[in-house]
Symmetry: C2
Subunit: 223 residues, 2 copies
Amino acid sequence: MSNNTIDTTVPPRGDKRRVRQSPNRASYERDDLYAVLDACPIGHVSFIHENWPQSVPTAIARIDDHLYLHGHPKSRLYKALSAGERVCVSACRVDGLVKARSAFHCSMNYRSAVVFGTGVLVTDEEKPALLDSFTDRLIPGSLNDFRPYLTKELKGTALVRLSLDEYSVKIRTGDPIDDEEDIALHHWAGVIPIESSYGVPVKSANMLDGIPIPDELLAQAKP
Amino acid sequence: MSNNTIDTTVPPRGDKRRVRQSPNRASYERDDLYAVLDACPIGHVSFIHENWPQSVPTAIARIDDHLYLHGHPKSRLYKALSAGERVCVSACRVDGLVKARSAFHCSMNYRSAVVFGTGVLVTDEEKPALLDSFTDRLIPGSLNDFRPYLTKELKGTALVRLSLDEYSVKIRTGDPIDDEEDIALHHWAGVIPIESSYGVPVKSANMLDGIPIPDELLAQAKP
């Protein structure tokens, strides 16, 4: 990850992608973008609706070089996307609390991405394979444990594709950055990591006896 | 929490707050809003900038009946907020992966909130006490372990207050909801919980020896 370095592809001044606060934490590298998106099952998709910004938390998955959003064909979000309206998707994962000697220098460690674009509807032909990839991203290891899609289900699921051309990434890692003159103070400074993990799977109340959890799913879901 | 029930305060049709997808998961109760916001250290703040929706992941804290956003006075976000521009803040926490017998009925368990409003700048007089509350929300138990604020730090920190008047909450909990005819299928169904916890605190590389982590901070940060 290209953290704490400005790479050569910084967008010009005034460009909406350009990170202006703490630009040393910005990245415009595609690998960094993919890593952040892949760590975030939820994106906050914002669009303009009746002169208000409207943000909707939505399941997202990066598949190859595109971002896919998943929703209901009749939702406001899907209608905006299918009408080609401009959207912004932001995603963020918090990795730790950063405790400095001064409240001012407290921070968080995080990985975030912001993507701008317009959506394209996935066609009926493309949908089954992409929905499989989407599901496999969100519930890794589940794919071999479903009954087949019904035609009405394919029709009832909206999948929208977004190009990953306009984006920025921002990543903070490591220690607090205290003022030089504060380092000798008798205050604790450091990082409290935030860890996310899968808990023990809980079977559905209405499940028949004798159905084991698939190995692939369990492998992912082990604490 | 008022989950899976429509309460009596549903906003009218067409209202931007109104949850239209899975309205049975919507809540317009203030207690639910506070619980969701308090569980989310990051909000995705969207505003309109040059006819694009722009969403910025930002540290947030709910203090009493308001939401506070924290940032740099020169940031685009802060400028938009201080100019009274319309903003939308969304926050979401994922609690589990919901594996159904069909891919179509897979889902996630989550708690999310969407707030609409315009910001008001916190005055210099109000700032010290509110910044303390803000810091205590983000790094619980840290407040007694900082040197005092410097005047330039207070000036260099932007704090914006948002009223919590226009909002919606959406919460999903519990089992997958499979089609009746799928329940007898030999596929595993249930929830894989996602658990978030604090790891062992890591002290700053430049910290002098013999400075213990404060008890209050440790109590919060214990895995």
